[in-house]
Amino acid sequence: MVSIVLVSHSTELSMAVKALADQQIQGRASIVAVGGSDNPFQPFGTDPVAIAEAIQSVYSDDGVLVLMDLGSAVISGQVALDLLPAETRARVRLSSGPFVEGAMAAAVQASIGMDLEAVAREAAEARRAKDAVLHVRTSEATAPVAAHTAPETPSLHTAGADVIVVNPAGLHFGPAARFIQTAAQFHAEVRVTDLTTGAGPAPASRFNQLIALGIEKDHCIRIEAVGQDADEAVNTLVRQVAHDLGGETTPGVPSPAFPMIEGRGETVLSGLAASPGFAIGQAVILAEQQDLLHTDERLHADTEESGSDPTLELTRFTQAQQQALAQLNDLAAQVSATLGEEQGVIFRAHTLLLQDRDFLAEVRSAISCGQAATAAVRRAVRRWAERFRHMSGSVFQQRAVDVEDIGRRLLHLLQNDTPSPLADLPPDALIVATDLLPSQAATLDRSRVIGLCTAGGGPNAHTAILARSMGIPAVVGVGSALLEAVRPGMIVALDGAHGIVIAGPDAATAHAYAQAQADAQAARATAWASAQRLTRTHDGVRVEVVANLSAAADAALALDAGAEGVGLLRTEFLFQDRLTPPSEEEQTEIYRNVAHTFGTRRLIIRTLDIGGDKPAPYLALPREPNPFLGWRAIRISLAMPELFKTQLRALMRAGVDSNIHIMFPMIGTLDEILRAQALMAAAASELTLAGADFRADLPVGIMIETPAAVTMADRMAALVDFFSIGTNDLTQYTFAADRTNQHVAALNDPLHPAVLRQIDAVLRAAHAHARWVGLCGEMAADPLAIPILLGLGLDEFSMAPASIPAAKQLITQLTMPTARRLAQKALQLHDGASVRALVRETLGDILPI
């Protein structure tokens, strides 16, 4: 059960709130009060050490929620977290909820056994009840937009649709996990049938049954739903399946496995290319651990099969399962943060399997029949793994490894031992193993492990995916010859791009591999180091290279790539694929998190840019024949002021701690700017009324993406702090050519002087008013466009994080006089092709292409 810690400046206040909450729940959850100072002359204060002790006094693996009154209590709460051991800290949340109402809400939720996230959510939203009673205006926006919510109808709707699976890995772990999470948002029973193989139907609430359908890429599946929002469920899921390409890219065509080739005293082995790069180092052979899953049962027959107490064993199993869940949640969070969301999903999928009703039922029924928990887990895991191994499609066979990973984790927990860590590695360790579990791969010490090769596994296995994202060269599927040829401590060379492993390389080979490894490391270090520097042209003029982000999760990636800030954070991800709009609190939290990642660097957040092409069920947007010319972006925001003001309030609240700039999309008229600013002022006065901490003077800018805005840029510049030119839309509006229509898309050339002249005009208008200008279209990363944009005077280049290092490198090689001459010539040319030819001709020696 979740425990609660109440922190106040005043001992009396924290004790009184505790008494109030205790009375409400009659001691059904642990609440501890802490606060005040031990100095009688200064009785008010908070002590981080005391808070940390209070947390530990009520800590359990179910977690602890900390509510604080205000000011330094919040800071002390944060410091207290720092004082806790990492594993405890991971299960402690600081609540942004109001102290009294939040404590009551949290106590009630904890007492009915809700998990930490649910308790924290209720506490954070605890102010709403009072808002509603007192009819405070802010409450309207935190509730769903009533006019657009589907009416509650008791009758059951049914819906169904067929869709082709596009994800290269089919509907396997990651995509299946996302599918189930989406389906769970709807009040409808969803089931899936594979029409290609005839497998199913399987309920979308059952993870194992869904992946057991064996759905692969290009299979046609039928999604059916029964329930009050069946239509939305099916539409959302169909769109997800049709667009979910996942992030698990397969490296080029894997080379076929060859037997070993003897030559020059070295043993050359061939396997499957899993992660590119060269490595040469000392072989560290992962000792065949005592195989927990395949232990000879006869040895344990006495202890495991008879005499066990089912009640005790069930408790042990439940504890192990809960501990494993907590470990996997931590691992998923850590992997998401360091390697990426897509990699974190691997371990989130593990948690889903661990909570799968079918899997749990199988283990529990075996325990009830008298088996020890260990034996029951071992059997169930083996059976599930076998089931995956017998499925058609290599992806599913590799998933068996994931199941076994979970099984080993459970068995280790049940036996109270910890898996042997890869300790005492030499600084150039090359891991050699029969196979590596995903959780082992994710926790490899990147400062010591320089490469890995396995006898088993495949390039799509999670281990290989993790190795790629960690940048560790890897060869998999080498076969049993690997462990015959390699001895511990032997020098091994590895070419991850071509799937080659050389055991005991001769001097020449070793030298070549060492050289290649050193070159690659040096190149990476140089690119990374230069990407972290502020960008200046060769003659010292400073321009900014910043990132376009479509999800909060990309923030860390952008920083690594050398983003000097964010030129465009799209917020559509917050609004799509859900039934109700995100609350002010939810948005504030997400904006704050991204802002925290970027510290003092500028973070431009664009307000909602949604339209008929990107529907959200609660907006009930009409389908339009041409959504690009339709009701979208700022036009919708101005028509739905509560939705818009909720976002503005969240931005202004998050703006307190950060360098957030607000940007309005698709501005066409001066009036739109004025109306948006008026709503901002209204949102600010609502926040004042609510007593919220917020910043009303956030810099405000607009997207320049309509020819109307280009033409009126001189007037608009007087109203806002900055411009960002959206060349993708500006180009299609300039040529009146839909960029999604393949017959006309080719007309859309942003390097055409028709577009360049507009950019020139915008830059002149803005600079005349001392406003700076960014550009956030794909053009900002185009090496042929960069010199021209620089020459026209662009201040900020905003692009996908992956493009940043190359763009920075190019800019540092350019000089302003050259760029200006080039730009002026380009403005006088007659089409995009001649502009490109001019840039190539002038700068051919430094362009990367």
Partner: protein, 220 residues
């Protein structure tokens, strides 16, 4: 060329004791500043915390700078009420992480340790320059300290430059509107008052310059 003078445990203890003296001298002033825009306890709290630190330093033998700073940080966390306890505590805890296991620091290592501490304060309070907080004195000080050391100044000269920058930063808080801490509740009415946190932060940097310059001269 003379060898680079090192920052030693004794000189750090001298710094902290000197700061405790300065806080005691200026307790009433700090409290008065806080009375204008806060809750009138900054001087009292700081005095209590640093007297406690001074007492512990007198009774405990420490031969590791990391342990020294960590001990100071933990004492401040427990003994200084209000936000300044966790904030000054964080400064020393972070310095302790950088200096862990060391008996001496080069001037640059010392500057890096202080920078880590100031970064800790900045993150903890999520304050930015211009928010009218201790960060307004500490950030310019750190920049000046690094700049002077880069230019080849002695540690004494670099700390004097840092103290001058901290003083300017402290005075610059007078016309600012507070966006952080209790003073931010006053909104525009916080304008025209010097920030007490920036003031105690300036005294910390000034004490460092005074005590380390004395140490540098003694070693000549």
């Amino acid at each position: 060329m003379t060898p680079t003078p090192m920052v030693e445990i004794a000189s750090m203890i001298a710094w902290i004791n000197r700061y405790a003296d300065r806080i005691s001298e200026h307790q009433a002033w700090l409290t008065a500043l806080d009375a204008e825009i806060g809750d009138a306890d900054h001087g009292i709290n700081m005095q209590r915390g640093f007297e406690e630190v001074r007492m512990r330093l007198a009774h405990e033998h420490v031969d590791d700078l990391g342990v020294l700073f960590k001990g100071i940080g933990m004492t401040l966390l427990s003994k200084v009420g209000g936000a300044s306890g966790p904030l000054y505590g964080t400064l020393f805890l972070r310095m302790g992480m950088v200096a862990a296991g060391k008996q001496t620091l080069t001037p640059v290592e010392f500057a890096n340790a202080v920078a880590a501490g100031v970064e800790g304060i900045r993150q903890r309070g999520s304050a930015r320059p211009g928010d009218k907080t201790m960060v307004d004195a500490l950030m310019p000080a750190i920049i000046a300290l690094h700049q002077a050391l880069d230019d080849g100044a002695t540690l004494c000269a670099a700390l004097q430059a840092a103290a001058a920058a901290a003083e300017a930063g402290m005075k610059a808080t007078i016309p600012m509107q507070a966006y952080k801490g209790r003073a931010s509740y006053l909104g525009p009415r916080s304008i025209g008052h010097q920030d007490p946190g920036a003031t105690s932060a300036f005294l910390l940097v000034q004490s460092a310059a005074e005590s380390l310059c004395a140490a540098e001269h003694n070693s000549d």
